[in-house]
């Protein structure tokens, strides 16, 4: 019987501890036919599970160009992620997906890209950055501002440094005031403030901003001042999910189902939605 709820079995090929409570995991399909048939768009998400503990929803944070693996990144907060924390290379977990709509790269083509992210919101940005770097000719200048509460909360620190080495890529990393260490060389301040301070000049950019609601709320006025239309500003919504396929009735924001019409949407679309998130 075709079972839409049944996951694929995945072998863990790498585990990387990013912070004291965040790990990133790389997986490959156990079934080579599945591996061959699988493809996704950056921005889509999957439902990952540890058998016996439960399922959890995470963005697929690897580039869609990488055919040998998919990756996800999680923070240890509850039952499933505590079990996920104990997973080692060689272990087998479950994966269902890809679900939702990814970033509309065909619309983003030709534009300068601005990525603004806070804390654990880096993974869904990371996949888009790698995709853009791998399809470099399709995009203009790339500008990344990423911040976390403290230095210890920054994820993918080494990749941020690598990205900065690419042509026409500018990376600014910041921590909240008080979150810096003695040897911190990056910026200090909240992401919207640091972004404004950077005095960026971008021509008709596409912006991807992901982070806690307060960060997004404070970023929008800055974007408005730069005359960037809400229709060019994208975000990825998070909501509690279970089925991922629009049936369990849990993830809707008004009539927008994060698992079906989302998780990616423009600010213009988001502003039309009720405050149900």
């Amino acid at each position: 019987m075709a079972n839409i709820y049944k996951p694929e079995l995945m072998e863990v090929t790498a585990v990387r501890q990013q912070t004291s409570d965040v790990k990133s995991v790389a997986l490959r399909f156990l079934d080579p036919e599945c591996a061959a048939a699988f493809s996704f768009q950056v921005g889509q998400f999957g439902i990952f599970s540890v058998f016996g503990y439960g399922e959890s929803t995470f963005n697929i944070c690897s580039s869609s160009n990488w055919k040998d693996r998919i990756e996800f990144c999680f923070r240890k907060v509850g039952r499933v992620t505590e079990a996920m924390w104990k997973v080692e290379v060689g272990d087998v977990i479950g994966f269902r997906g890809p679900y939702g709509h990814g970033y509309p790269m065909d619309v983003w083509k030709g534009h300068d890209l601005i990525f603004l992210g806070g804390g654990i919101a880096m993974p869904p940005i990371r996949c888009a950055v790698w995709y853009a770097l791998e399809n470099r000719a399709d995009f203009g200048d790339i500008f990344i501002v990423y911040g976390a509460r403290t230095v210890g909360d920054l994820v993918y620190v080494d990749e941020l440094q690598e990205w900065a080495k690419h042509e026409r890529v500018r990376v600014i990393t910041c921590v909240d005031p008080g979150g810096e260490t003695a040897d911190w060389k990056g910026e200090i301040g909240f992401v919207p403030t640091v972004f404004e301070r950077a005095h960026l000049s971008a021509k008709d950019p596409v912006v991807l901003v992901i982070g806690p609601p307060i960060m997004i709320k404070n970023t929008l006025p800055v974007l408005q001042k730069l005359a960037i239309s809400p229709a060019s500003v994208y975000t990825s919504l998070e909501n509690r999910m279970k089925c991922g396929v629009g049936k369990c009735g849990r993830c809707n924001v008004g009539s927008h189902y994060v698992c079906k019409e989302g998780p990616v949407l423009t600010m213009q679309e988001l502003q039309r939605l009720p405050l149900d998130y």
């Binding site: 439960g54 509850g78 039952r79 505590e82």
Partner: protein
């Protein structure tokens, strides 16, 4: 040598760290042989043994359960075992009503020096369980028998005389401004009034069955400010319990007590006190009466055999859909996060399966032991008519029988669970 086809019982033992576990250790170090059928689970103290762990052991296939700890007076934590003992006294009564085989549940005190006793107890329990055989009757539904159905009495709707007085009181309170919300009965059900001009929405008739004390736990209601609560004498007992459990300060609640002629509910036949005793405003006056002693469903259930009781409950719980209406309408179920909503660990199977439903109803009933005042709101709320109220009645009877305790009657009485006595009886403890 044991016959290869001989039944080997699986026995789970919950033991305390400081006495029985060391006693078991001693048995081992002094080379006292005992059957290997026992799986020991060590906890700090018998007082820490949640009653649902006993049921869990059976859920995962145990044929018998042993619970053992320090002798009374010797508890490493002073009184943990006294608390445990009191709980066990009540819990056995609940399990008995549900049709669990009490011969498969053993309680004992074994000290750190009693290696020999440990050997003896384990050997005895193993042999006894071997003779009883595997616990196949657990959750078996074959012997099901129905309960006598009460003939529904024809219901004639009546508005009571004090309705106007109640409305006037509500109007007065809301106008004065100290009380911010009046929680009372409306035409279709409970209503929460915040304006004096809404007072005429209040009704007082023989359909006012709800126990409005359930609203005291709601954060949406707490946010409104000081409430005035309409109560009948039976509902008022909830307030006695809740105040004792520090759920509200008496000065922060205005109680409007309504003398009640009866709501034509089965419980009304057992009503003795008809006028609330501790209200700020009492409307109406009715003298106490002698309740009609009617044998009820509980007695009929207790007359059934153990297998019939188990089958009865399997059938009852089969209908349960885990809507948790029973929990939500109970004033005493006020935990911000219920045990069924916790998942680290999952103590109660959340699915509406046989095991999950048993586990839930056992937890619900036992968490109300000595606290339930018998308002019946839970049973009335159930959309599929599961008779779980009988579990509460059984525990109330047990509280009366063993401790001469009735919830919500005497405000100065110690709470039942949470207190203990060195004189609590323990004939069932080995």
């Amino acid at each position: 040598m044991n016959d290869a086809t001989q039944f080997e019982p699986k026995i789970v033992a919950y033991v305390c760290n400081w006495c029985t576990y060391l006693g078991a250790d001693l048995a081992g170090t002094t080379r006292l042989e005992y059957p290997p059928n026992i799986r020991i689970i060590r906890l700090p103290c018998t007082g820490r043994i949640d009653f649902n762990l006993l049921v869990k052991a059976f859920e995962i296939g145990a044929d018998a359960v042993l619970v053992s700890g320090c002798h009374p007076g010797d508890c490493h934590y002073t009184s943990g075992n006294y608390h445990a003992r009191r709980r066990w006294i009540l819990f056995r009564e609940l399990l008995d009503l549900l049709g669990f085989d009490l011969e498969r549940i053993h309680f004992t005190w074994i000290s750190a020096a009693e290696g020999k006793k440990f050997q003896q107890v384990v050997t005895d329990v193993t042999e006894k369980t071997r003779k009883l055989g595997p616990y196949t009757e657990l959750y078996a539904a074959t012997a099901a028998k129905g309960l006598p159905q009460m003939q529904p009495k024809p219901f004639e709707f009546r508005t009571f005389d004090q309705q106007d007085e109640l409305r006037a009181e509500a109007r007065k309170l809301l106008s004065a401004g100290d009380v911010k919300v009046v929680i009372g009965y409306g035409e279709r059900g409970p209503i929460l009034l915040t304006r004096p001009d809404e007072a005429d929405l209040l009704v007082w008739n023989n359909r006012c069955t709800a126990n409005l004390a359930m609203y005291l736990k709601r954060k949406e209601v707490k946010a409104l400010g000081k409430p005035a609560l309409v109560v009948k004498a039976c509902d008022e007992r909830s307030l006695v319990v809740l105040e004792k459990e520090a759920q509200f300060e008496r000065k922060d609640l205005h109680v409007i007590g309504m003398a009640c002629e009866g709501m034509e509910q089965p419980k009304c036949a057992n009503c003795a006190v008809r006028t609330p005793r501790f209200a700020d405003t009492t409307i109406g006056q009715l003298p106490n009466q002698v309740p009609a002693a009617t044998p009820g469903k509980l007695d009929a259930l207790l007359e059934m055999s153990r297998a019939e009781r188990m089958a009865f409950w399997v059938q009852e719980f089969d209908r349960c859909v885990k809507c948790y209406a029973c929990r939500q309408v109970c004033p005493m179920c006020y935990c911000e996060r219920c045990i069924v909503d916790k998942n680290q660990p999952i103590s109660i199977d959340p699915a509406p399966s046989t095991k999950g439903n048993f586990a839930w109803h056992i937890a619900r009933a036992f968490h109300l032991a000595g606290r339930c005042i018998g308002c019946g709101a839970c049973a009335r709320a159930c959309p599929v008519g599961v008779d779980f109220g009988l579990l509460n009645v059984q525990l109330a009877r047990a509280a009366k029988k063993h401790f001469d305790y009735q919830a919500g009657v005497d405000p100065s009485a110690e709470l039942l669970i949470g207190a203990f006595s060195q004189l609590d009886k323990e004939e069932f403890i080995g």
